[in-house]
Assembly symmetry: C2
Homo-oligomer: 333 residues x 2
């Protein structure tokens, strides 16, 4: 390892020009004669020169990186395939730029502190913030941050200037309307975490649809988006409202759990109980029966977050974006 790195000065010297000139050709700026430009080019690949990103960052006051922060006490949250998809989306647009993606799970006290500093001191050029819980102190910091911040999903409690979200409420409404249209009248729901925007939005959509249909929205159990929580909630539902004939579940993971409990309870799906999920995860097509669910464009969410941030970095204005969701009808309802 570790022969010293080639510097711009060496390139300049070899090419017989000044460092300024060499710098200009690297950033292909104007005011360099054809001849010198060529000389520098040759020197560059003769020497195998690669500009030092750190030095450049210091000189230009631009970090050359953006951070994706998932705010959560529970690191395992990230294990949800949802985030992986988002990352893929983000990465696909960042790859077209010279920006690096730094990932912060913001789990420990220490890493949260680092994130806060970062928000205040422009150690990164921009920040994408996801899955903020209600009352997360990061929210306030983000608002008056020194760097552009775009939110993924609308946080609870306030409306950030820049965010991209999926139409959770609309999707939930469509799902519930589907249940109503199919003839169900005793419709229950398993909610997600209600201290998150997506959880409440889906719950709200459910309520709206029932209100419009003139039905009661009293059959409610609360889950946490995860499979086991869904199973627990379904058991609770069955226990308290044995007459239910349909259930809107706020995530496919929970729906999988719910399906299992229903099967064990001897309720046929969709004949006795219709089930609709949310997310359209890969395995939704292969549950028994295949799960009717609300599809949301997760990669697109990531892509649009990244694009929005890029626009902000370029000094352009930008406004919140709500991505459409879409009901995918399969056998479960």
């Amino acid at each position: 390892m570790s022969k010293r790195q080639v510097t711009l000065d060496e390139v300049a010297e070899r090419a017989g020009v000044s460092r300024s000139a060499a710098s200009r050709v690297i950033n292909n700026a104007p005011h360099v004669s054809r001849a010198k430009r060529e000389a520098v080019r040759q020197a560059i690949d003769a020497l195998g020169y690669v500009p030092n990103a750190t030095a450049r960052a210091l000189a230009t006051q631009q970090a050359g990186s953006v951070v994706l922060a998932i705010s959560s006490e529970d690191p395992a949250l990230f294990a949800d395939p949802f985030f992986a998809e988002v990352v893929v989306g983000i990465s696909s647009v960042l790859e077209e730029t010279d920006l690096e993606l730094v990932l912060s799970l913001a789990t420990s006290q220490r890493s949260r502190a680092r994130l806060e500093q970062l928000l205040r001191t422009r150690q990164a050029d921009g920040v994408m913030l996801m899955s903020l819980r209600e009352d997360d102190p990061l929210a306030a910091l983000a608002q008056q941050a020194d760097v552009p911040v775009v939110f993924g999903g609308r946080p609870l409690g306030f409306e950030p200037s820049y965010y991209v979200d999926a139409d959770n409420r609309g999707g939930a409404r469509a799902a519930t309307e589907h249940l109503v249209a199919a003839g169900s009248t005793r419709i229950a729901t398993i909610t997600g975490r209600l201290d998150e925007g997506a959880g409440t939005a889906r719950y709200r959509g459910f309520q709206e649809a029932l209100a419009v249909a003139g039905l009661e929205a009293t059959r409610v159990a609360h889950g946490d988006f995860a499979e086991d929580g869904g199973a627990r909630a379904m058991a609770e539902l069955l226990d308290r409202w044995p007459d239910l004939d349909a259930v809107f579940v706020a995530s496919d993971q929970m729906a999988v759990g719910a399906l299992r409990v229903l099967r064990e309870a001897g309720r046929a799906v969709p004949d006795d109980v219709r089930v609709v999920g949310f997310n359209d995860i890969a395995s939704a097509a292969h549950t028994v029966p295949p799960l009717t669910t609300v599809h949301q464009p997760i990669q697109a969410l990531g892509r649009e977050m990244a694009r929005m941030l890029l626009a902000l970095l370029a000094g352009e204005q930008s406004s919140p974006l709500i991505l459409p969701t879409r009901l995918v009808v399969r056998a479960s309802a």
Copy 2:
């Protein structure tokens, strides 16, 4: 945004000391009197000073970051929950340090080029490299890289100095032995991608176990680790060797697909056909029937990669690490 950032000079001035002294207290180095140390501390939080990471990086020649690179033409590969788990593991140990995690999906030509530069020019302090395909040119670069590189999973074709891997071969052998012990004699396998280390290792383990048992390892179909591929391969298997009585599937995702095809074909699991998967993904416990599978400690894999890299950065020696896998017996075999 954008009141200028507080610099060390301002801190020093306010504390009435030299910049050198201020620097020393920040890095809590020796040779600064109790009094001055205190003065600087006060100035720091009066001013809200945060050191500029870029400047520090330039001065110390240390980037303060490590990169996790997933080498792949297909960005969607990362959507496999496997990587999310690895990231969680890595992140958990990095959080205890001052290192940032930068993520490179290394998909486009452009980002691969950036990664290559990085390997040559120490723009990051270390690199973790995963899922290298056979003949990936990155491999060679990584070997003579200017920064420490630890591999996640053993790449095909050569043995890197530093890697951590799961005992894929041993796990596959155990799984297959389990099938043999249960009395199956016409045992098939669905392999993963054979241009990856994990794929071949699992295939090898399968072959070994059958050889030891004196059985033929001829019933083979090739998959790609993904669910649909598993389904296709199972169909092929059933078509060519209708007499098979067990199948070792190199990933749970594929096993889910295989289970579906078996059900559709009217084969009872485990009565007609025993099935064992690999990975122990979350949903493995909830398939019908619940899937017997090989558990591998994915988060631990990430953790150990990060630890190994940290050790290397600290100048310590380190040697390859193989994490144990473990058969989890459920109903499918």
